[in-house]
């Protein structure tokens, strides 16, 4: 017998608060369709996730739900309920799986969680983490976070203490019942699986990017629920620029923490004076005014959402013309149900496209030091690979919206598509005046062919652990290629922005066997279907180099004196490197994505030092705001970058 295609599970569409209002009660719950997991166990524990319901503050565990129970199979799972923890388990599983599926569909490969890294017998080790763990009731706090060290999501719950039109004191808010909070947290984990160094703040955008990206995924996931989409299209008469639930995140949490409205809104805000919802106009100077990660991240979210609206408006202009006989003015009252359905279809299509543009882009980001501007380049490059002909102007819409919000990459001379797109390997070689002859190219390809033997063999059906194991040796062979390879490997290291020559690297750069170290962090295979239906295989490789950084400029200069070999304990690690995309079948280097400077770049080192020293401003509390902690600080610091970021504190 064939397995079912999908498992149908009921969830709260947003969170329990919608069921408390007559206007939204009808869209309070939806049925999510999750790919059928054959071996799903109680918990639920599946291929990607394990829900372990431990509530340490209450000193107890909650019985795990068994979604294969025939009764639950027949009823699309448990009914949404705040008081049944097993429904909570079902909901976190369903929402997190939905997000994972969006990721895999966009990236064209299986999702991996970040490796468990530790030191054993004096050596760094990586271990494969098959499942992200989810603790739905881990904390008694207005908080939920992804813990990179536990490879787990921790959700909190808290009693409401406010009494107002939205809140009843004494009722419990469970953050794990917020669709948006779950989608947001699992996105943090997915992004960490691709870019573990995106937790290392080296500029104001890094933390903000993590937050923004998680919000973007959560927001656009709303569009996968048709019933909500149609409801909001109907309510706004197809004008999604006006206040609607699709653009808002975490209603219940926002209300229970005294905001009176959703935690975040990509489109507008509640004016303090008038108490009215007010649209937020693009502000090209906003980035220079905001340093707090969520506020800054909100700018990127607004830019992406605006791009979606531009596309949606363009794609539906014909429908509005048809519906209004060309006047563009809709008659008073409700719009025709057929129009609602058609608009909802278009909105879902555009939203999927924009979401996938964003997710695909993460394979086209440098391994460290992400900025919003670099992300724009990544979106454009990824989309060109996906849809070489952009007849619908999607890329233009993204650029237009980003520009309106003042987001642009540093060091480019134009906001045109050709300037934004990352160079191909050939472009980069030509730029360095390295022009290999025909035979040279042939030699290069043969070399790489040998290097990449076996790289084509994976597909989406492979066991993730087998893929993970098969990839490990490539890190080593690529490392050898760059370091000890022939002339071409050497030339490539140049275009990749790596410093291989001992003479060219300042003394503080980490070395091994007297040469600057090159660390190949990850090799990921992707198989993508382009818009034209063609399949493309790419190998995404991330390479970085490390250097000792000191908070004090004079110490840095002292340590960087020529021939110096003894170093004081350093305060921070400065990294530079690149991401490259290689087509293993044609041995073509498809894209080269480099950080802003090489590891020898003094200006970049100074920039990072200034940032860590709090020169660009401070966020946080009244004690340690704005200061990065030196690596030399004694004692174990608790390293939970998202725990404090997510806490409900704004002052």
């Amino acid at each position: 017998m064939n397995n079912p295609v999908s498992r149908r599970l009921k969830i709260f569409t947003f969170d329990p608060s919608l069921g408390m209002k007559i206007e939204t009660n009808a869209i309070n719950q939806v049925v999510a369709h999750i790919s059928w997991e054959k071996d799903l166990k109680e918990g639920p524990i599946g291929e990607y996730l394990e829900v372990i319901d431990y509530d340490p503050a209450s000193g107890c565990f909650y019985k795990p739900v068994d979604l294969n129970n025939p009764e639950l199979l027949g009823t699309d799972g448990l009914d949404p309920s705040e008081s049944n923890p097993q429904f909570h388990q079902q909901m976190v599983y369903a929402v997190a799986m939905t997000t994972i599926q969006h990721f895999e569909a966009a990236l064209g490969r299986r999702a991996f969680w970040a490796d468990h890294k530790f030191i054993y017998r004096g050596k760094y080790r990586n271990q494969f983490v098959r499942r992200l763990r989810i603790y739905p009731h881990a904390l008694r706090d207005r908080n939920a976070y992804y813990s990179p060290s536990l490879k787990a999501l921790l959700f909190g719950y808290f009693p409401v203490t406010i009494i107002d039109e939205h809140n009843t004191p004494g009722t419990i808010v469970h953050t794990c019942l917020s669709h948006d909070i779950v989608a947001h947290e699992v996105t943090h984990a997915l992004l960490d699986g691709v870019h573990p160094r995106f937790n290392e703040p080296t500029n104001l955008d890094v933390h903000a990017f993590h937050e923004a990206f998680a919000d973007i995924v959560a927001l656009f996931q709303h569009f996968s629920y048709q019933i909500v989409l149609e409801n909001e299209i109907k309510k706004t008469r197809g004008n999604l620029d006006t206040e609607n639930l699709l653009s808002q995140l975490a209603q219940q949490f926002g209300q229970a923490t005294g905001r009176g409205n959703a935690l975040r809104d990509a489109l507008g805000y509640k004016d303090d004076e008038t108490q009215q919802w007010t649209p937020r106009e693009p502000n090209p100077h906003a980035l220079s005014e905001e340093i707090e990660p969520h506020a800054r991240g909100a700018i990127l979210v607004a830019a992406v959402f605006k791009a979606f609206l531009l596309i949606y408006r363009d794609e539906t202009a014909d429908l509005f013309r048809i519906a209004t006989n060309g006047t563009g003015v809709l008659p008073e009252g409700d719009i025709h149900p057929d129009l609602t359905r058609r608009l909802a279809y278009e909105a879902a299509k555009c939203a999927t496209r924009v979401l996938r543009m964003c997710i695909r882009a993460i394979d086209y980001c440098p391994p460290v030091d992400i900025t919003f501007g670099t992300f724009l380049r990544a979106i454009i490059t990824a989309d060109i690979e996906y849809a070489p002909e952009d007849s619908r102007g999607y890329r233009i819409a993204v650029i237009q919206s980003f520009r309106a919000w003042g987001i642009f990459p540093s060091g480019i001379t134009s906001m045109g598509i050709d300037a934004l797109v990352w160079p191909t390997g050939d472009d980069a070689l030509a730029e360095l005046n390295i022009n290999p002859g025909k035979d040279d190219i042939k030699g290069m390809k043969t070399y790489m062919k040998n290097l990449l033997v076996g790289a084509k063999e994976w597909n989406l059906e492979n066991d993730r652990y087998e893929v993970w194991k098969a990839l490990d040796p490539f890190k080593e062979s690529i490392w050898h290629w760059l370091r000890d390879g022939d002339f071409y490997g050497y030339a490539y290291s140049k275009i990749f922005g790596l410093v291989i020559d001992n003479d060219e690297a300042p003394p503080t750069v980490f070395r091994k066997e007297n040469r600057p170290t090159v660390e190949v962090h990850s090799v990921r295979p992707t198989i993508r279907k382009t818009l034209q239906g063609e399949y493309r295989t790419d190998l995404v490789v991330e390479i970085t180099q490390r250097r000792r950084g000191y908070f004090d400029k004079t110490i840095q200069e002292e340590m960087d004196k020529p021939q110096n070999t003894t170093f004081k304990p350093y305060d921070f690690t400065f990294r530079a490197g690149c991401t490259i995309l290689i087509d293993p079948s044609s041995q073509v280097i498809r894209r080269v994505i480099t950080t802003r400077g090489t590891i020898a770049d003094e200006d970049q080192l100074i920039r990072v030092r200034n940032y860590l020293n709090g020169v660009s401003g401070a966020t946080g509390n009244a004690f340690d705001a704005g200061l990065a902690t030196s690596r030399t600080m004694k004692g174990r610091q608790r390293d939970e970058p998202f725990a404090l970021l997510h806490n409900d504190q704004n002052y």
Partner: protein, 507 residues
């Protein structure tokens, strides 16, 4: 030792250098007496910081209190306590021979939050006490799990000490105050001052908008009260209290962090779900599902490339994770008390110059100031107008982040740009009470007091007229002329125990 002298017209401000904390002595001229009218604002320090003020600091708080006694002839006309934190009040009381035991105190001003009869203040104090007790329990549970040397514990201890007071560097979980915060050394200090002033019927609790207050016998100065705000949500920006009040041990209150943290033996912990879903921890860990997927054993499997992480790996457990919420709670609690700071503007009558003493007010306090105005005769004085005439700013909370707001003259909330405008700009001076080396070296993570960006903003706005506890003499900026600098320094006395700064009440 000579008495502190007031100028014929104006005020002398003495900033003591007792450590990382506040202690200011102000001397105003009296109408009918040669002796000055003495106002003392706070008296405290962070233990340990007193040894790092200068390279060879040897003075203890006792020496400073003796100095105050000698400078005032043992009589403080008006004692002002800004708020109840260790670094503002621990130089006042101790168990034997309290520092202020023999000092006469004629009057005392406190913020409304200290008023025993104010219902909102009562609620606030009750909540503070409950939260402190919970925090102490959470700290003790965490200390059991992590050991007392863990940086997280050190940090918590530091915050607890700020709330409870005293002169020990280490936190003592067995102290009377840790068991009952109403017995804290901070509270004793407040009580001592209150009792002394009460003997003269001299206790006043001030509300924002109060004033202009006159001081009997001192013609030259009027006082305006800017904070703390009466809106509870501004004082503590979490858990705004509705009509129900803060839930006591009924209903869902058993489901808060504090309820669980205070419940040391775990026997009465409330559970948010019905019993049919619940398996107690001890029982659960004997079932196959939780043994396999959460685990109990602590042996790490040997590293092997062929092995995935174990499903019961000990490093993925969360038995203590929830207790780390204590850290944020401690920060919020600290911020809440900082925001109860009494914020006063002293206005010199002839020149209309203003001295702004911000206590440790943080954002929640600052953003309420502009809502005040005062009717004086037929004129209305706005907070913005008052603040624009500031010539002396006692910088909030050691110059930390969020305790001096950034903004422009046009911003709708009070900020640094509002101060020292027009003709008052040339005289604008600021005082930071911070021992930076102590803050940076003795705390983990380091305390950025003052925050470099705030210090820089102040240096530029004051053109170098900036005092800091641990800096012997302010440095003259290159772009300030010698004569201008001399005009400033001629009003200063730099001593290893204090700075005196004179402001004359003339235009």
């Amino acid at each position: 030792m000579p008495l502190l002298k007031a100028p014929g017209n104006g005020v002398t401000i003495r900033m003591y250098r007792q450590g990382h904390g506040d202690c200011f002595l102000l001397a105003f001229p009296q109408n009918d007496s040669d002796q000055a009218y003495y106002v003392l604002i706070d008296c405290g320090y962070k233990p340990g910081s007193q040894n790092m003020v200068t390279k060879r600091s040897k003075k203890s708080i006792g020496d400073f209190v003796q100095h105050i006694i000698d400078s005032t002839n043992n009589t403080i006309d008006l004692m002002i306590i800004t708020h109840e934190h260790q670094d503002h009040v621990n130089g006042i009381w101790k168990k034997n021979n309290p520092y202020f035991g023999k000092i006469n105190i004629k009057k005392a001003w406190f913020a409304w939050t200290e008023d025993p009869k104010d219902p909102l203040a009562k609620k606030f104090r009750k909540k503070h006490k409950d939260q402190l007790l919970g925090l102490v329990s959470a700290r003790n549970s965490l200390a059991l799990a992590l050991g007392t040397k863990d940086p997280v514990i050190n940090r918590l201890d530091n915050f607890l000490n700020l709330e409870l007071g005293g002169e020990e560097e280490a936190f003592n979980p067995l102290s009377a105050a840790a068991k009952d915060p109403t017995k804290s050394i901070n509270k004793q200090a407040i009580k001592l001052i209150r009792d002394k002033a009460d003997g003269n019927d001299g206790v006043e609790y001030l509300n924002p908008g109060d004033g202009p207050l006159s001081i009997e016998g001192v013609e030259g100065v009027k006082t305006y009260v800017l904070g703390p705000p009466r809106r509870e949500s501004l004082l503590v920006d979490e858990d705004p209290i509705g009509k129900e009040g803060f839930p006591s041990h009924r209903g869902s209150s058993g489901l808060t962090f504090l309820a669980a943290a205070s419940d040391s033996n775990g026997s009465t912990a409330k559970i948010p779900f019905a019993n049919k879903f619940v398996i107690p921890k001890s029982k659960a860990l004997r079932t196959k599902f939780f043994k396999d997927n959460y685990g109990t054993d602590n042996t790490e499997k040997l590293y092997d490339n062929e092995i995935e992480i174990a499903s019961n790996a000990h490093w993925r457990r969360i038995d203590n994770e929830w207790l780390f919420s204590a850290e944020t709670l401690a920060l919020k609690l600290n911020r809440g008390i900082n925001n109860t700071s009494l914020v006063l503007a002293f206005e010199l009558q002839k020149s209309k110059k203003v001295l702004l003493f911000a206590g440790d007010a943080q954002r929640g306090n600052w953003i309420s100031w502009h809502k005040n105005d005062w009717e004086v005769g037929d004129k209305t004085i706005s907070a913005k107008d008052l603040i624009s005439r500031t010539v002396l700013y006692k910088v909030g909370h050691h110059g930390s982040h969020n305790a001096t707001l950034n903004g422009t003259v046009d911003s709708d909330y009070a900020n640094l740009s509002w101060m020292g405008q027009g003709k008052y700009a040339n005289e604008f001076t600021a005082m930071i009470t911070a021992v930076n080396s102590w803050a940076m070296q003795k705390n983990n993570p380091p305390w950025r007091h003052p925050l470099p960006s705030i210090r820089e903003a102040l240096e530029s706005k004051t053109q170098g007229r900036l005092f800091q506890t641990d800096m012997d003499i302010p440095a003259k900026p290159d772009d300030v002329s010698n004569s201008e600098w001399e005009k400033f320094t001629s009003n200063c006395t730099f001593d290893k125990m204090f700075f005196d700064f004179q402001i004359l009440d003339e235009c």
